[in-house]
């Protein structure tokens, strides 16, 4: 099973880095959004400090959605999802493979947009920069876990894109509120105890949606 997940990861990365569809879409979206926000604030103003963490997470949110949608679009375009499901004991491997490939592509995008965000908004950190990097990692896990399951539901039941948006976006609100608050604490500073509160929210989200995806993926994709 583990082996097949890695094969799916490699195959998805090979296709993505060959075609660069979601990478280019996400990077251009992120770049343009950061530039527009950068011109919306006066340099050195206080409001920029309050808004800067929200800007980072808006960009990650929408870039991530583009990546997640592309993950299953590859299977839809090629009608290969049925072929994957025809492989014995493949359901959990498909979930893990898709989760890993979306995560790697999202991290690759973040690797480019994070320094860009720091430079454009002249972000300085009250806490270690590693705290923000850790926040990005834990938020990505929850984001991708939920996104992969909902993309699979969307593909299995042939749902319209709007259904994906209506279900996915509201469910992500607690995760991204936690993300914004943790980033804010590392930029503006604040009580360490309040960071634990937000961190608990994010890790609970991760655990709930990773395990429900892992355990339910088989039933979701079989139920047609």
């Amino acid at each position: 099973m583990k082996n097949f997940s890695i094969k799916i990861l490699k195959k998805d990365l090979l296709i993505e880095f060959r075609e660069k569809t979601s990478i280019i879409n996400s990077l251009f979206f992120a770049f343009v959004t950061l530039i527009i926000f950068n011109f919306s604030f006066h340099p050195g103003s206080n409001s920029i400090k309050e808004a800067v963490s929200g800007i980072l997470w808006i960009v990650i949110f929408f870039s991530g959605v583009l990546i997640l949608k592309r993950g299953f679009e590859i299977e839809k375009e090629n009608h290969t999802f049925e072929a994957l499901l025809l492989i014995p004991d493949s359901h959990t491997s498909i979930y893990m493979g898709k989760l890993l490939s979306s995560l790697v592509i999202l991290l690759f995008i973040e690797l480019i947009l994070f320094p860009l965000w720091v430079i454009l908004f002249n972000v300085s950190f009250q806490r270690s920069i590693l705290f923000v990097i850790f926040t990005i990692l834990v938020v990505d896990v929850g984001f991708v876990s939920l996104g992969v399951v909902l993309s699979a539901i969307s593909l299995t039941f042939n749902l319209k894109d709007v259904i994906f948006t209506i279900i996915f976006f509201p469910l992500l609100i607690p995760l991204f509120i936690g993300a914004v608050k943790l980033t804010e604490i590392s930029i503006i500073g604040g009580e360490l105890s309040s960071s634990y509160k937000w961190l608990k929210l994010i890790t609970s989200f991760d655990i709930i949606f990773f395990w429900s995806g892992y355990l339910l993926f088989k039933f979701i994709t079989e139920e047609r």
């Binding site: 082996n3 195959k11 060959r18 290969t80 025809l86 492989i87 493949s90 139920e223």
Partner: protein, 232 residues
């Protein structure tokens, strides 16, 4: 020997009953063709048998065992060729075949894949993306994909769709090869000539029911007596 037994299979989509108490058997090494007009339920039946769709009632037995209890064992021994190709167009033939062979834990080497590609005259295109292939080339490649796990039963859903005469001939000879290898084949087609050439038995499906079953020795009656029953 009987490899599949389908017993009173029923499937509905909402209020629309697509399959109505379908029963038939498939023997080992038998080439069985399903014909019928659009909307007769052929593809739904094939999707149920390949576990892509859940049926509402009835049973399917694989070598005497209830299919619902031996799903994973069954999956190991079947494969499916549809008019949808189930190939990654962004990858080369080698990359596609390596991926699917690894998916079945077969880990075939590049040399072995080269031999397979040579068998269907695709070796010289092994480095090209599948997206650049003609329909016929893709269909030949998809047959290789479907044979990777050495399946006992192969399901074919309108494999001749979109093929020109030459590509159809190549596909026919590949299907004859499957027959020689004593694999069981269940094929849906609108191509009556190919159905008569390849099949041991033809089943006519009309409005979700089996309208007739015809053995090879009676195929001469197909056009005059039996086809009008399903293509009304």
């Amino acid at each position: 020997m009987e490899i599949l037994r389908i017993n009173k299979l029923q499937k509905s989509f909402g209020k629309n009953r697509v399959l109505k108490e379908i029963s038939f058997t498939v023997n080992e090494g038998e080439f069985l063709t399903l014909i019928g007009p659009n909307g007769a339920g052929k593809t739904t039946l094939l999707n149920c048998l390949t576990l892509n769709l859940k049926w509402d009632s009835g049973d399917v037995f694989y070598k005497g065992e209830n299919l619902k209890k031996v799903k994973e064992k069954f999956k190991k021994n079947i494969n499916y060729i549809s008019h949808n190709l189930f190939l990654y167009e962004q990858l080369t033939p080698i990359e596609n075949l390596l991926f699917f062979s690894q998916a079945y834990n077969l880990n075939k080497g590049r040399d072995e894949i080269d031999k397979l590609l040579k068998r269907v005259n695709l070796l010289k295109f092994k480095g090209k993306k599948v997206a650049t292939f003609s329909r016929g080339m893709k269909q030949r490649l998809t047959i290789l994909r479907a044979l990777l796990n050495n399946p006992e039963i192969i399901f074919l859903d309108e494999p001749f769709t979109g093929l020109d005469i030459k590509a159809s001939e190549i596909l026919s000879s590949l299907l004859f090869q499957l027959k020689k290898e004593n694999r069981s084949v269940i094929m849906i087609t609108h191509n009556i000539t190919q159905a008569k050439n390849l099949s041991d038995r033809i089943l006519g499906l009309y409005r979700g029911k089996i309208s007739f079953q015809l053995e090879r020795e009676n195929f001469h009656q197909l056009e005059e007596t039996f086809l009008p029953r399903v293509f009304k």
